[in-house]
């Protein structure tokens, strides 16, 4: 099943299983069903609980906060991840703060979903991966969808917990088929699922046993899929073996599966699509360099898009974004 449909089904299941779930967002009702069609069909079946709003991202996030403070489980869709800037005050100064600043008297379990990322030629304000601005916001979890995580499972776990969540969905994943681990395998590779206490799994994929992998690649979302394809080809064609670690929750990170892999491979590459500088990769590099000081075979490598605006031109966009070619180049560097 393609990722867009599987997220839609996950939302449908959430609406079915919990009366407190409310969906708010721009253009999410039928027949349009959302800019990326994720919510198609839901408003027909849940007309009171799936609502299109005016173009008011701050109010969408703010209303969700009020709903959550009142015991509901709101899920907002922000049409493009670029528009998260319009929710920043609500996320940082309201949603993520209420429980802690009121000393635990309330909870504010808002989930904000947003399609993000480039590769579609939408240009500077409809292509970004702005999630790095939300990493490290206290009491906020940033989660990324991927092909190897079942959105129904992720949503179910999030809906049983009370943390506010920013859920990043790369728009290039929507038309791709989910590749969920089955019998310890994904597409022939070994797939190990690590489930921490708070329940959001990290999937580690390797073509051969970990002891035979010479490096670890850490990536999430669409970049994880690009890395999986490259690693799969390098394994078959060139016997270059690396382990790919794909977390569902990217901030704060679940370090255990990352540590477990690096502890064996002693080499790490972190890939992300957001622009370089003050990144997820630099945080991971700082942590891993400290944890494995003196034990790594090379400095932690990071790869990110160029720190500039995302051009609309297909050629120029491909020049600055993390494409398959750049992912391969970065992997070859740590594999050398």
């Amino acid at each position: 099943m393609i990722a867009a449909r599987s997220m839609g089904d996950a939302l449908r299941a959430a609406l079915n299983e919990d009366d407190r779930v409310i969906l708010l967002g721009e253009d999410i009702v039928d027949p349009y069903g959302g800019a990326f069609k994720v919510t198609r069909g839901l408003s027909t079946d849940f007309p009171d609980r799936v609502r299109s709003t005016p173009i008011s991202e701050g109010a969408i996030a703010g209303l969700c906060a009020g709903l959550a403070l009142s015991g509901y489980r709101p899920i907002a869709e922000i049409m493009f991840g670029d528009f998260l800037t319009l929710c920043f005050d609500q996320i940082v100064n309201h949603i993520a703060k209420y429980e802690a600043m009121y000393n635990g008297k309330v909870t504010c379990p808002v989930i904000i979903r947003t399609p993000s990322g480039g590769g579609r030629g939408y240009g500077p304000t409809h292509s970004q991966s702005l999630e790095k601005h939300f990493f490290g916001v206290p009491h906020l979890r940033v989660v990324a969808s991927s092909l190897v995580h079942d959105p129904a499972d992720v949503l179910r776990v999030l809906l049983t917990q009370d943390s506010p969540v920013l859920l990043i969905e790369h728009k290039l994943l929507y038309p791709l088929h989910q590749m969920l681990p089955s019998g310890g395998r994904i597409d022939g590779d070994i797939a190990e699922v690590h489930v921490p206490a708070d329940g959001l799994p990290t999937v580690s994929i390797r073509p051969v046993p970990r002891e035979d992998c010479s490096f670890t690649v850490l990536a999430y979302g669409y970049q994880a899929e690009l890395a999986r394809r490259v690693l799969s080809r390098l394994a078959v064609e060139e016997e270059i073996f690396g382990e790919l670690v794909i977390p569902s929750q990217i901030s704060p990170p679940d370090w255990e599966p990352i540590d477990a892999s690096v502890n064996v491979t002693r080499s790490l590459l972190v890939i992300e699509e957001g622009v370089g500088g003050f990144t997820w990769g630099s945080e991971v590099a700082a942590r891993i360099s400290s944890r494995f000081f003196g034990e790594l075979r090379r400095p932690v490598a990071t790869a990110a898009s160029d720190p500039t605006v995302i051009p609309s031109s297909k050629v120029r966009e491909a020049d600055m974004l993390m494409t398959s070619e750049r992912v391969e180049k970065a992997i070859r560097k740590v594999a050398a």
């Binding site: 109010a59 906060a65 000393n103």
Partner: protein, 358 residues
Amino acid sequence: MTAGVLSVESGRQPGAASLPPVITTTHPENGNTSVHTFVRELGQDVAAEVNHATPIAGEADARLVGVPGEPRAERLYRRMRFIRRFEQSLLDLFERGLLNGTTHACIGQEADAVAVIEHLGDDDHVFSNHRCHGHFLARTGDALGLMAEIMGKPEGVCGGIGGSQHLCAPGFMSNGVQGGIVPNAAGIALAKQLDGSTGLSVVFIGDGTLGEGATYETLNLASLWRLPLVVVLEDNEWAQSTPSSANLAGSIRDRFTAFGLGVFEIDSTDVEELDAVAERALAQARTREGPVAIVIHTYRLCHHSKNDDNRPADEVAARWELDPIEVHGRRLGVSARAAIDTEVESALQDVIDRALAL
């Protein structure tokens, strides 16, 4: 122990440190209360009778919020006087170096809080802003919880984390970032609508808040969805140090009517006039035909926070002539007013002493 209605409270707000248990007895005829605190000593509960009704965090002292059976005019006065003296006491404690951080007193605006909240019940919710003490005290009466909070004590309503501007109690919340509280209050209103509750969500904002866009996104949505939202705008003419004339274009009223809200506008510091307007406005909101706005033109008689008042002295002095405590206090008999003042003074002193001792 006096015969009467007995209630035992653990003295705990969720998450707060534990306080000694307290037994409150209420006399069935005259409504007087006496309080017994239990001190755990050598494994035994020893009852020690306290002379005055002493509140614990989460409870209201009748001497501050209203004595059962007292005339309404006296009740309104008592509640305003309570807020005024609380705020003045805070400023004094700051002067004495006993408080940390900052505060935004509502001196001059007490009547707004008292008049509006007089018409709210348990199903209603109040969201307030940085200048929230008056709203909090009118809503909860929990002077000790607030005093302890501002003193940074674990027994404070938010364990000392929230401080002056970030308060939470049943049916009440506040936050320090202006426009953002408006959609939060609208979300609470939407929850009430979905619940089928008859409650209202009331949000207090200032004239300065009209500069932030989240306010207008919310007015539009609240009106479209006919949310049971009440926006109370206290126009005190100054946004921190900037006068309305340098801040606000057009008319405040038009900003609400443009979105289809019913507007109840009043220029007054008289609690009885405000009380009458609030009653009508809230009654309309309870018809659930959409949000309403109450626009109150008033004045802040104190500085914005502490020692930061550059307004013309003659302008401020002229407004003291309309001090809401005096405007309404003149209606009371001299002895009745003096009796209330004494009770409020003594109750507040208890609160301060108790909070300092925590």
